[in-house]
């Protein structure tokens, strides 16, 4: 229902720690029609230029706190609010080269009344500035 909006435009950037580029990040919205508590976010599948990112390299920052996908499974209180951008960070030494990249995001969301996960998915070309 909100698939096309789940990746926030112009939000791709490399992430630095001190002088090292340790990964890249972009902002994403939860593609459901209400907020979801993090335990119900089952997977965030990220692909960059057609290559899947290993699950353990993905984290989500919500309200200033960063969670791995495994940590989210037992977070029963904090919610990804409706329409609120959160940050998806991918650990990758060196980050992404400057220029355009195809980012694909699929969110697997466990919904109270649906038998299988609701999975909004989109691909967007975002640019890392030099």
């Amino acid at each position: 229902m909100f698939d096309r909006y789940i990746i926030v435009e112009n939000s791709l950037r490399n992430v630095r720690q001190g002088s090292d580029v340790v990964g890249f990040a972009f902002d994403a919205r939860c593609g459901y029609y209400r907020r979801l508590i993090l335990s119900m976010v089952e997977e965030l599948d990220v692909e960059v230029d057609g290559t899947p990112v290993p699950r353990q390299d993905v984290s989500l920052t919500v309200g200033g706190r960063t969670y791995s996908l495994d940590e989210m499974r037992s977070e029963y209180k904090v919610a990804w609010e409706f329409g609120e951008p959160a940050t998806v960070t991918v650990a990758k030494p060196g980050g992404l080269p400057a220029g355009p990249h195809d980012i694909r995001l699929a969110e697997q969301l466990r919904i109270s009344y649906l038998p299988v996960p609701h999975t909004p998915v989109t691909t967007q070309t975002l640019t890392v500035s030099a």
Partner: protein, 328 residues
């Protein structure tokens, strides 16, 4: 026929604009009141971040808006968090505790009805009913497609309503149970996506003539059609047409109505749901609650068109005003 049916808006209608931060909660209220829809239904989990732990500041702001815009809070839409845990079902006691928080929130808003998500176990409603009674809040289970009045699901919820009494437990019919013609926005999208036009026409014909839609997916498979055709065939099974006069059997239990709509076209009519027929039945039955506009067309048109929920709600309210004034 004289009646006391009132007009309202569910802010669900504006989810696209809110999601994209084009409208705030206050904007959504102001727009609705501007159309003369004085009953405001809210979905806390959309537009009240932090729910159920909202601050006193938030509620004070709400009170100030009530004073400023002069609206009546109608319903709060609850969601039973049935799948909070990845590895186990939610215990009934926890669901009841959650519902009590919904009841507190509803009472604090000054609203009188909770829309109970259809998937909520009837037992949870029954266990929370005494608390709701104390707080002056009614629990209205949403009758939503594809669930029917004739289902076991409905029987189990209605049994609770009868046992507790309609002063506390009842129903909220969603007018999406009266879809007589498959919504145009649905099959037009399918065509835009590239589905086989003969097959789409076949799906529409089967649905609109009231025939069985459950065989359409098999039919698509026999014809060697792809996922787009499978999808429209599946979607057709999620819409239903109930006879509107069935509402007359449940009048004392109807606490709120979701006036679902998919598209009000340039003629000012809802293509798929025969509003005149339904409103005439509600008048006959003496319904005196709110018709709460619930726009749900955005998801079907956002691929090709700018979604304008405000304009859709304006048209819908105009149609309701006209039909409520009719002397039938």
């Amino acid at each position: 026929m004289t009646h006391s049916i009132k007009r309202g808006v569910s802010l669900y209608s504006f989810q696209e604009e809110y999601f994209l931060r084009k409208l705030t909660l206050e904007d959504c209220i102001a727009v609705s009141v501007g159309f003369g829809a004085l009953g405001i239904e809210t979905i806390a989990e959309q537009m009240m971040p932090g729910f159920p732990d909202l601050s006193d500041d938030f509620y004070r702001r709400w009170d100030a808006w009530r004073e400023q815009y002069g609206f009546q809070p109608t319903a709060h839409d609850m969601f039973a968090e049935l799948k909070l845990y990845p590895d186990r079902a939610r215990p009934t006691g926890e669901l009841v505790e959650d519902l009590k928080k919904d009841i507190d929130h509803t009472a604090r808003l000054g609203a009188t009805v909770i829309r109970i998500l259809a998937a909520t176990p009837a037992e949870v409603v029954e266990l929370a009913a005494p608390y709701a009674r104390d707080k002056g809040v009614r629990l209205a289970t949403e009758v939503h497609a594809p669930r029917r009045f004739s289902s076991d699901w409905f029987a189990s919820h209605f049994e609770v309503a009868e046992r507790v009494g309609p002063d506390v437990v009842g129903i909220c019919p969603d007018l999406g149970i009266f879809v007589k013609r498959l919504p145009k926005v649905l099959w037009e999208r399918s065509l835009r996506d590239g589905a086989d036009s003969d097959f789409v026409k076949r799906v529409v014909d089967v649905y609109d003539s009231g025939e069985d839609t459950s065989t359409l997916q098999d039919e698509a498979e026999r014809l060697n059609l792809g996922p787009l055709e499978q999808d429209i065939a599946l979607q057709a099974t999620r819409f239903i047409w109930e006879e509107p006069r069935q509402l007359l059997d449940y009048m004392p239990y109807i606490h709120h109505v979701h006036a679902k709509f998919y598209e009000i076209d340039d003629s000012g009519e809802e293509y798929s749901i025969p509003y005149q027929e339904i409103i005439s039945v509600l008048k006959e039955g003496g319904y005196d609650g709110y018709l709460s506009s619930e726009y749900e067309g955005n998801r079907h048109i956002q691929d090709a068109f700018e979604v304008d929920s405000v304009e859709q709600v304006r048209r819908h309210q105009e149609m309701l005003t006209r039909l409520l004034a009719d002397e039938d």
